[in-house]
């Protein structure tokens, strides 16, 4: 094969078949994908199902702590998991720019394969398109995931109730700052790594061993602040969080302070919010902290009646302020 992606590879002809066989089947192959039929044949999924789709575009393709491939697997697996489901199958569509480095593509597909194996999902169907140079930025990946819901009732952003405890699974802002810093060529004393990882292992444990989770939600784009606002608004509740209980890596805090950014608005790709009755909070925290995906888990606040859809931050000094939703992109400031 050529060392660059050619338009031929998306033609559907021999060149496409070679790419599928030598690359995609090599790394992602399995009983369903290997059949090379027009659709995936799935016979073992019954009961309530969760399905989610997401398209991934990130610059740079490789960043500290991950790459677009692992991100595309984790992102969709996590979205399925947030509905209280056990993710099982993924579809995967690649949109490639002509001229993309084949080695980069191979590294990304390999990384997807590892990520899928680690979170116990299989890629069962896929698609590849190649567009002329300039029509896309290197590569976009779409993944769709499906899984069986094991929680009854399923968690939902609209189920937060007065008195519920608000838990987060770890530090905030790592992914957003890692990507931004890498993109801008900024370096800090210690490397900040993206937190991109699968969360389904831990969320399934929580459902099975603690139960009665009202809300799972991963604070990706828009960060913790935006996600909490979504939940408050969907549930018609007010949420109060304590600034001093929100874990943030020191390097992330310092980097944000330098760039004029707020870690509570930065994206996370391996963290989730869990809202459940206060009586279950301690058990849930203990379980989370014993799992690699929840080592720094913390109880950060509570749900209450009050002003519907509002999130209040109690500051370290004991004052209060609104924790509003992110408006647009966060932009570094002048001074």
């Amino acid at each position: 094969m050529s060392d660059k992606v050619l338009l031929d590879y998306g033609s559907g002809g021999r060149a496409s078949h070679r790419l599928i066989k030598d690359l995609f089947l090599k790394y992602l192959g399995g009983p369903a994908l290997n059949r090379l039929d027009d659709a995936a044949f799935i016979e073992d999924m019954h009961g309530p199902l969760a399905m989610s789709t997401d398209t991934f575009t990130i610059y740079p393709l490789f960043f500290p702590g991950g790459d677009i491939g692992s991100l595309a697997v984790h992102g969709t697996v996590n979205d399925v998991a947030m509905l209280g489901a056990e993710p099982r199958y993924l579809s995967c569509a690649f949109l490639l720019e002509e001229g993309l480095d084949m080695q980069d593509l191979e590294n990304i597909v390999r990384s997807m394969s590892e990520a899928a194996r680690n979170c116990g999902v299989q890629v069962v169907t896929g698609d590849t398109k190649v567009v002329p140079r300039g029509a896309a930025d290197k590569m976009f990946i779409n993944t769709t995931g499906i899984g069986r819901i094991i929680a009854d009732p399923a968690p939902s952003g609209s189920r937060a109730e007065p008195g519920d405890a608000v838990l987060i699974s770890g530090t905030m802002g790592d992914h957003g700052l890692a990507v931004l810093a890498h993109r801008q060529g900024l370096s800090f004393e210690t490397d900040i790594l993206s937190d991109s990882r699968a969360l389904n292992g831990l969320t399934c444990n929580l459902i099975r061993q603690v139960g009665n989770v009202h809300v799972f939600r991963d604070p990706t784009r828009g960060g913790l602040a935006t996600t909490l606002n979504e939940i408050a608004s969907q549930s018609g509740m007010e949420i109060l969080v304590h600034e001093e209980r929100i874990p943030v890596h020191r390097e992330v805090q310092a980097g944000c302070s330098f760039l004029g950014l707020d870690p509570l608005y930065l994206a996370n790709e391996g963290k989730f919010i869990s809202i459940l009755p206060e009586t279950l909070a301690e058990k849930a925290l203990e379980l989370m902290r014993s799992h690699p995906a929840g080592r720094d888990a913390a109880l950060i606040g509570h749900v209450r009646e009050g002003h519907r859809g509002r999130v209040i931050l109690k500051t370290s000094l004991g004052g209060h302020r609104l924790l509003d939703m992110l408006e647009g992109e966060q932009l570094p400031r002048i001074c």
Partner: protein
């Protein structure tokens, strides 16, 4: 290592802050209004919750110390015109959303194909010019004394290297002349000023002396942590009580009394003070910086002569009064209605450090 928000240093220590707050409560026997000049202070006061912790008879208003907010409509019109001419612009990020004539902004011009690169320092902008010798790169020079020296140093490097495709559209502004304009306002209602920490690291203490000597206005150079701000408020209250009005440097860990002579020298070598228009405040003599004759080859105003048509300000916008502390943001009829961070009308809603934006974002 995991830290919890806001415990990085002793200037955020809640215990120390509570002590000072207690003293402020004891001192604040009569109503007192202070103005923070710097947008970073505005955000810190809201963000830390200080606003909700001060006794009721202490109120604060946010002054004109956000460089984005005070960039004048005519200046915005000028750089949008440059972007539409197809020149490569390099800018600090927070200028991207500033609305200009007809609701246009750099963001919308960019969506239409305008070439705009967000940079973190003027040197990045110069690098952009060096990397693209066939392009004309214009850096949008917005900011106070904090930013101007770095731009000046960049221009010196550009001249030494004989760069021909790098330009600066200087819209820099100077803080002391604006403070003088505020102090001269007859209907100004301010009992004391928190002076900007970053600007003071460059200019030092002396340029503020006139505030105390000519206008009887107490003022304290202040850092940006909660403890800095609370201490400075306490100093202002003390001055009011004992009647000894003076300028105090309460940010000695960063601000030398004489400022930064090297930075001042390079700034003066490249720039010359000129009259400037401020959004909300109007024309203020000697409050802007233009490139000196020796650097005129880099002057984007001269090289491109962008149009600075006069634009009609939106009727009803009361940013001018907000900037002078005459009204609070929510007393403006546009606030939260026509004017929001998503579609800002006035300067104070534009930047994240603007007083209306901070009020909108944080006020409970």
């Amino acid at each position: 290592m995991v830290w919890v928000l806001n415990f990085i240093n002793k200037f955020k220590d809640p215990e120390l802050c509570r002590n000072i707050l207690e003293k402020i409560r004891n001192e604040a026997t009569t109503p007192f209004r202070f103005m923070e000049v710097c947008g970073t202070h505005t955000v810190a006061i809201f963000q830390s919750g200080i606003k909700t912790l001060l006794p009721e008879n202490i109120s604060h208003i946010s002054g004109p110390g956000c460089p984005v907010c005070v960039t004048h409509d005519r200046e915005v019109a000028a750089f949008l015109a440059l972007a539409e001419q197809g020149v490569q612009l390099a800018t600090f990020g927070d200028l991207m959303r500033v609305p200009g004539p007809y609701g246009r902004s750099l963001k919308s011009v960019q969506a239409d194909g305008g070439r705009i690169q967000v940079v973190y320092s003027p040197f990045d902008a110069l690098q952009l010019a060096l990397d693209n010798p066939g392009e004309k790169v214009v850096f949008l020079g917005v900011g106070f004394e904090t930013t101007a020296p770095a731009v000046a140093a960049t221009l010196k490097v550009a001249r030494e290297q004989g760069v021909k495709n790098f330009f600066v559209l200087s819209m820099h502004k100077l803080v002391p002349p604006a403070l003088q304009a505020l102090a001269m306002e007859r209907d100004i209602r301010v009992d004391g000023l928190l002076l900007p920490g970053h600007v003071s690291t460059i200019i030092g203490v002396q340029p503020y002396f006139f505030l105390a000597s000519d206008y009887g206005m107490p003022a304290v150079i202040t850092g940006f942590e909660p403890l800095d701000i609370l201490q400075s408020i306490l100093i202002l209250l003390h001055q009011k009580k004992d009647g000894r009005i003076r300028i105090v440097n309460n940010y000695k860990r960063a601000v030398a009394d004489q400022g930064n002579p090297k930075a001042l020298a390079v700034m003066n070598e490249v720039f010359v003070p000129a009259d400037a228009r401020w959004r909300g405040l109007g024309n203020i003599p000697g409050s802007g910086l233009l490139l000196r004759e020796e650097f005129s080859e880099f002057d984007a105003w001269k090289a491109f002569d962008p149009k600075t048509e006069d634009v009609q300000a939106l009727p009803g916008c009361r940013c001018g009064q907000v900037l002078k502390g005459q009204i609070l943001p929510d007393e403006c009829p546009l606030f939260r209605n026509k004017c929001t961070p998503a579609s800002p009308v006035g300067p104070c809603m534009v930047s994240t450090e603007g007083s209306c934006a901070a009020f909108f974002k944080y006020f409970v």
